[in-house]
Each structure stands twice: as structure tokens, then as C-alpha cells.
Symmetry: C2
Subunit: 256 residues, 2 copies
């Protein structure tokens, strides 16, 4: 995987500070959550109890910054284009490197991301409007509770994609096979049934129109663990900036 | 699931102190590992990194003794027929209840067990000699390393079942679908290839003969996490006694 190493090298040297949507499209990108060890058991158990929203790609040892399974020789302190730093649950700053925040006490969680299943849907000829329109996918807080672990609790966040009615079965079958990229959808059709009162006003990302021959399809979203972790107000939490993901060496077949 | 509740009631009152092999055969039984919280993150991460030997059925919150997912109303302190107590990695005693050991600091791990896939094999008409002969399955330490986490490391332990050559493909297909009961085999045929020098001398359990028309088939075994955890010499570790498993309310379809 020479090209992913080259890409991460560009990120490391500051040559690439942009979003990663569409970069190395057949490659697994991940959400990043970094927490002090005192929160690590509760958060790992939260991920284990909520596998659809928090599919684990790799968890690093405390203090470890090389993802030896998913991206050997990478450095999680420098190889994400942009990081968000949160202190006591409050946004503190956006940064290009976290070397100055690093300590042996920090545990890195790499969690699956919908980019993987979007690639599979596009390959099957299922169009995705937010990609056609170069928008962020629309994301919503729902009335579905996550399974609590320690201080980590809160509502499930979903992403929504309008799918043509005659391709809905295909979209369920295709994504059901990618369990570590959120898997099958959680709901199809009626936003109110999962607590979304106004589909035109997403909580994160941008709304895209739903046509007559389409239904809105809702998948568990990787924003869930970040939202939940923030609510628990850890002393320090570091994440990627939304859209600026970590690019691994894995291909989607590796995480089936 | 009235009958599993009734069974656990018998265990709780001391009416049942026997092995659980064959009890409620269509029901998921689990390995039990209980550790103080200081070891819980490293051990949970060990399970996450070694899903074939340590498939997680349920992890309880620190201090929690009711497995609300797999067996609501059960009490893990009293509902296992026999427990082994280890102190600093050394066997201390076998006991029928762990109420006097319990504290809010203890974390319970329920891990998948081969009873589930044995049931599926038998249903497909694949005979299992150790069951025919009322023996414990033969288990071996291998030269396959587990993925380390913190102090937890050591060789993978496998269980061996002789399978008729014309049913080997079926046995792979059937068990591959039961990922949380150890999944597909790790090796077929040549014990030396995985570091087993004398197939007639298992490290645990009892040897059964391998006939001319059979091959030995090796699956990852739930003894692995116990062996690995013991090697790390935790101050306290509580497990079920081998063969005296925890009977849940789940059926195999629940853990697919």
C-alpha cells in the first residue's frame, strides 16, 4: 500500500491539510477518538455494546501511536489532517498535530466510517446525492438510546441518504455485509419514528432533497461516539475534525 | 425462557452442582472470567484483539452481577455451578458461590463457548466422538501466539474434534457462521504445523481416537483467555470450573 503511506506522509509534513472524502476511495478511513486511560475501559465497553455506531477497527495500547494493525509505520499524532481538542467536554482548538498533547496515558480508538459502505453503494450503481452535490452527509440525533457504559450515554446519531425505492433492498444487503462500517440501516422511511421532527434540519452536515421515487434511509453514524464522549466531559478528548479522517492501509474486504 | 431461569434457580440453591454439558443444549452457555477493574481495560482489549478465542457475549459494568443482556434476573455470584478462585495466578479454591469474594471493583466477562457450535454440528449429522464417549473435548496449547494486550499474552489454546473427511467442508461452513462461538476452524490435519507434538497427549481434557476416514480439526478454544489471564498473575481472578459453564437465556441465533 505504497500510495496510502505516501498520502499520510503528505499529511504529516503539512502538504495535505484538506478533507479526506474521496481520497483513496477504496481504502478504509476511520473516525479517531483519543482519551486518557482512566476513561478507556468504559469507552471500549461502550463501543463493544454499540457495535453499529462504534465498529472497532483498531484500539492502540496506552501511549502507543503506531496503528500496527491498520496502518503500520503511521503516527496517529501527526497523520490525521486536522484534530479537534476538547477539554472538560468543551471545544478548545483545532490543530494539525497533537505531538504537544501526547502522553503515555492516552488511548487511541479507530472506529469504522461510512466512506467504506458509500464506496460499495456507488460501485453497485446506487447514486448518493450528497456526493453528487459535494455536500457533507446529513446527520441527525434520534430518540434511540445507546447502551450506556460508565459515564458514556446518549442518543444514537444517524446519517441519512435518499435511496431510490427500487434499490433499497440492494442498499440493505450491501451495507449489511460491512458490519465494521456501520452495517445495515437502522430505519427506512419515516423520520418521526426515530425522533427526527424536521428532516430538512439535520443536527450535523447538510440536508439533501428526497425525491418522489426515493425513501430516506438511516444508518448508525460514527459521530455517535464523539457526541456521547463529549457529553461525559472527559478532562481531555482528541478527535479528528469531521471529514478529516485517518486513512489506513486496509481495504474494505479486510474489515468484513 | 422459563426453563433456563428454573435451571439457574437450581444452581443458585445448590440443587445442581454438576457439569452443564448437555444441559439446555440449544441454549448459549458461556465461559466466565471475573477480574478487578484495574485489569479490565487490558483484558477487554485482549478479547477484542483475539475474537476467535475470546468472543464476547456480554461484559458487565464494574460491580454489576446481573447479566441484563444474556440472562436478565440471573446473579453471576451464585448461578454458576462451580467457580475456581485464583490469587496471584495460583489456584486457591473451588467454590459454589462467590458472594463472599464480591466487591464493586469486579468486572465480569462472559465469553462464547464451543457448546453452541457442537450443537449445530450434531444437528447437521456430524458426530462428535467425545460426546459419544462422554469425555471432555481434547485441548492443546499451540505455537500460535495471541495478540498481546498489556500483561495479557500467551499461546492460543485449541480444541480438537475428529471429523469425517467428507464432512469437513460442512463443519467449516457451519462453524464459520457462529463467530461468537469461536467461528471457523484454525487448522485441519497436521497437528505439528500448529506446534502440537503428540496428539495423544492433550494439555487439557481427554484424547479421543482419530479414525482412518477422519482428520483432526482444530478450533480456537475458550480456555485461551483463562490460561493467558492466569499467566499475567492478577491479584484475584474468578472463573467457572471447566465444564461448569454459565447457562444464559440466549439461543444460538441470538449470537450470530
Amino acid at each position: 500500500m505504497k500510495s496510502t503511506k505516501e498520502f499520510r506522509q503528505k499529511v504529516r509534513t503539512g502538504e495535505w491539510v484538506d478533507q479526506t472524502s474521496g481520497v483513496e476511495f477504496d481504502i478504509v478511513q476511520t473516525n479517531v477518538v483519543i482519551l486518557p486511560k482512566e476513561y478507556a475501559f468504559d469507552f471500549l465497553l461502550f463501543c463493544q455494546r454499540n457495535p453499529k455506531s462504534c465498529p472497532i477497527i483498531e484500539v492502540l495500547n496506552p501511549g502507543q501511536f503506531e496503528p500496527v494493525f491498520s496502518a503500520p509505520e503511521a503516527d496517529i499524532r501527526t497523520d490525521v489532517p486536522r484534530y479537534n481538542i476538547y477539554k472538560d467536554g468543551v471545544f478548545f482548538e483545532e490543530t494539525y498535530s497533537i505531538e504537544h498533547y501526547w502522553s503515555d496515558d492516552l488511548v487511541t480508538f479507530l472506529l469504522g466510517c461510512s466512506f467504506t459502505f458509500e464506496h460499495a453503494l456507488l460501485q453497485a450503481g446506487i447514486n448518493l446525492r450528497h456526493i453528487d452535490q459535494s455536500k457533507n452527509v446529513a446527520m441527525y440525533k434520534t430518540n434511540i438510546s445507546t447502551e450506556t457504559s460508565g459515564g458514556f450515554h446518549g442518543p444514537l446519531v444517524v446519517s441519512m441518504r435518499p435511496i431510490k425505492k427500487d434499490r433499497i433492498i440492494d442498499s440493505v444487503v450491501i451495507t449489511s455485509k460491512l458490519e465494521r462500517a456501520h452495517g445495515a440501516p437502522l430505519h427506512i422511511g419515516v423520520p418521526e419514528k426515530i425522533g427526527i421532527s424536521d428532516i430538512a434540519k439535520p443536527d450535523y452536515g447538510e440536508f439533501v432533497e428526497i425525491m418522489e421515487d426515493e425513501e430516506p434511509v438511516f444508518w448508525a453514524c460514527g459521530v455517535t461516539p464523539q457526541a456521547v464522549a463529549l457529553d461525559s466531559k472527559p478532562s481531555l478528548m482528541i478527535t479528528h475534525s469531521p471529514g478529516y479522517m485517518f486513512v489506513t492501509d486496509l481495504v474494505s474486504a479486510d474489515i468484513k
